[in-house]
Symmetry: C2
Subunit: 173 residues, 2 copies
C-alpha cells in the first residue's frame, strides 16, 4: 500500500523478482524462471482485474497470453491504435486515466516491465504492490523499477506469504 490519496481507479502492481530485485535477464526475456505457485497466484489475481497495463517489450513477450484481456500497451508511437483486445496508447499524447475511466475500468493491473512500474509509481498509479521474491540471486539483469532519479517512495507492508517449500515469498504492500 503506497502512502497517498485515493483515486477511483485502483492500480495494482504485480512483480516477480529475484532476491536481488531483478525481473529478467534482458529487456526481451520472459519470466519463465518464476515458480508455478507464483504463476497460479498471478493468474487468479488477473482474473479479477478489468484491464492490464504493460510496456511494449512485455507485450511482445506475453502477447498470446494477453489475447483475452483488456490490455493497454504504453508506447512511444503517437496514434491511439486498437488491435484485438489491445490498445496502444502514448501517455504523453493521450490521457491514460481518462481513457481508463471512459472504458469504466475500476481495477487495473500493472504488470511491467521496469519502465512501466516506474512510470506508474511516478504518476500515483500504484495503490497496491504484490512482489513475489523467488529464491535466486541473478547478480545482473533488468531491475524492478527503472527510474532515472533516486527517490524514496514509502510503502506499507500489508502481508507476507510463503508460496512453497523452497521459499518463494509473496509480499503485499
Amino acid at each position: 500500500m503506497q502512502v497517498r490519496m485515493k483515486s477511483k481507479i485502483k492500480f495494482i502492481g504485480f512483480v516477480a523478482a529475484s532476491i536481488d530485485g531483478r525481473i529478467a535477464r534482458g529487456k526481451k526475456s520472459g519470466t519463465n524462471w518464476t515458480s508455478r505457485e507464483d504463476w497460479n497466484f498471478f493468474q487468479q489475481a488477473l482474473a479479477k482485474m478489468d484491464a492490464v497495463i504493460v510496456g511494449r517489450n512485455t507485450y511482445e513477450i506475453a502477447k498470446t497470453k494477453l489475447k483475452r484481456r483488456n490490455t493497454i500497451v504504453l508506447t512511444s508511437q503517437s496514434a491511439l491504435k486498437q488491435n484485438g483486445s489491445a490498445t496502444f496508447l502514448n501517455s504523453v499524447k493521450h490521457n491514460l486515466v481518462k481513457f481508463l475511466r471512459e472504458k469504466k475500468h475500476k481495477k487495473v493491473a500493472i504488470v511491467g516491465g521496469g519502465k512501466i512500474y516506474d512510470y506508474c509509481l511516478r504518476h500515483q498509479m500504484l495503490d497496491e504492490l504484490f512482489i513475489t521474491i523467488e529464491p535466486y540471486v541473478f547478480t545482473s539483469g533488468v531491475s524492478m523499477f527503472l527510474g532515472k532519479e533516486f527517490k524514496k517512495y514509502p510503502f506499507m507492508l500489508v502481508s507476507v506469504k510463503k508460496l512453497n517449500k523452497k521459499g518463494s515469498l509473496l509480499l503485499k504492500y
Copy 2:
C-alpha cells in the same frame, strides 16, 4: 542458505535493501535510510563475527564504526597493508581464504557493497544471507549484487521476520 558444499569458514552476508533491491543512492552513499530495528539486528549479529569483509567504498563510509573489528578491505592495490584493525588485501595477488584461516577467523561477515557481495557469491563465500527489505522503492541507485553476467544462483529461504510496524522485513537464506 546457498545450495553448495560446506567450507570450514562460515561466510554470512548482511544486506539492507529497498523493495526494488537497491542498497544505496550512489557508490559513496551511506545506509542512513535503514530502520533502527535493522541497525540493532545488524550490530548484534556483527558482535558474534570474527571478521568483516568490505569493499573500499563501504570501508570509507563505515571506517569509524569498523575501528574495533577485524576488517578485511578488498582492494585493487597490490600490497598487503595493515592499518589498525583493518587489512587491505588484493584477492588476485593474495589468497583471501588462506589469510582468514591463518588468522583463525571462523565466522566472517560480508557487508558490502554490491561488488563485494557479487565477488563472494561467485567464489562460494556466501553460506548464509540476511536481507533486510525496508519498505521503500528507490527506482534508481546501486543494486544489491553488481555482477557482469546474468546467472541463476539458487538459495533456500530459512526464515522471515517482521522487524517493525511499518514492515521492515528480515529474510534469512
